[in-house]
């Protein structure tokens, strides 16, 4: 019998508690409907480059930030 690899994970995304079946940061970004090139990401306060998202595995309790360009002064 095959073990499930898609157990839901409790994390926060932009400060909001959520659960996800995404295993990696890249999967999470995609599952939230973001274009990979249109957002930047950090996990637990540390920058995760676009190229590293695919190998960055999510862990329970991770605090993920997903940001995009905005007006600024």
């Amino acid at each position: 019998m095959q073990e499930s690899v898609t157990a839901a994970l409790g994390i926060t995304v932009n400060g909001e508690a959520t659960s996800t079946t995404a295993a990696t940061l890249a999967e999470l970004v995609e599952s939230l409907g973001h274009e990979a090139r249109s957002v930047a990401t950090a996990v637990n306060g540390a920058f995760v480059a676009r190229a590293a998202r695919g190998t960055h595995r999510l862990a329970p309790g991770d605090a993920v930030e997903i940001v995009a360009p905005r007006q600024g002064g």
Binding site: N14, G15, L32, G33, H34, E35, S38, V39, A40, T41, A42, G45, A46, F47, A49, R50, E65, I66, V67, A68, P69, R70, Q71, G72, G73
Partner: protein, 274 residues
């Protein structure tokens, strides 16, 4: 005889060089708080600014707002200077800068580390720490700082090649709150690009900074919140031009007592006692 006035000098229209890049204008403009994206674009064009400031904010799922804003900025053909607005620690600012570098594809960063919610005053200790880390990581850091000369020295030692002292707290429009300290800073760093950032409320404030010999001014609210942002952008461009021309022309010395401008010699009746 017809007197032909000389053509207006183009000298002060030209910008200055920072991190090896020649900026086309001495005005750097923020992109926030305009009545509409269209007016923002028009104001930037009217201002002649070659650099605009931008930020990063949390993106909602399936929003696409960030990409739309980025497209808007790219249409304008200006350089972007991303900020770390709202960061309260060196760590937050460093991570924000790294995210900004990736998404805006620039190593320029307007470094803000805020130490107080009421004054939005820079936390100089966190600022120096973040400036050092980011400079070592290849960033060109534009630090939002105060007029403090010791902090300025530390920022330069940390790798900064430009300093951006505040005129007054962000968004207050109070102008140059401490002109003496800003003059001292200009004298102390004669060869360093200096930009007054924040607190500018009126074109006269920008002109004052330029008359002191500052290389540029960075402002946002004064233009964005004007009844007519496009005209105000033009007014700032004119004031900055006038202030720089005055600086380059050499301002007269200030005196305590009156000195007649009309020649004294030959004054009628001057030898007749009253």
């Amino acid at each position: 005889m017809t007197i032909i006035p000389p053509a207006p000098s183009a000298a002060a229209r030209t910008g200055f060089t920072v991190y090896g890049v020649e900026l086309p204008s001495r005005l750097l403009l923020g992109t926030s708080r305009y009545p509409s994206p269209h007016i923002m674009q028009q104001a930037v064009a009217a201002s002649g600014a070659g650099v605009v400031t931008v930020s990063l904010r949390r993106e909602n799922a399936r929003s696409g707002a960030g990409q739309r804003f980025l497209d808007l900025i790219k249409e304008m053909g200006v350089a972007v200077l991303p900020n770390t607005a709202g960061c309260r620690t060196a760590k937050e600012a460093i991570t924000t800068a790294q995210m900004a570098r990736e998404i805006f594809d620039t190593s320029w960063i307007k470094l803000e580390v805020i130490g107080n919610d009421d004054t939005l005053q820079p936390d100089l200790f966190g600022l120096v720490e973040a400036a050092g880390a980011l400079s070592r990581d290849g960033f060109s850091v534009f630090p939002y700082t105060t007029e403090d000369l010791v902090a300025a020295e530390r920022l330069m030692a940390a790798g900064c090649q430009v300093l951006m002292p505040w005129g007054a707290p962000i968004g207050t429009g109070r102008g140059l709150a401490n002109p003496y300290a800003l003059r001292s800073m200009r004298k102390y760093f004669p060869g360093t690009p200096l930009i007054v950032d924040a607190g500018i409320g009126a074109p006269s404030h920008a002109a004052q900074a330029m008359e002191m010999g500052y290389d540029g001014v960075l402002l946002n609210t004064a233009v964005a919140n004007a009844a007519d942002p496009v005209r105000m952008a033009r007014a700032f461009a004119d004031a900055i031009h006038a202030g720089r021309e005055a600086y380059e022309a050499g301002l007269m010395d200030v005196r305590d007592m009156a000195v007649p401008s009309t020649p004294v010699a030959g004054t009628p009746f001057f030898d007749i006692g009253s």
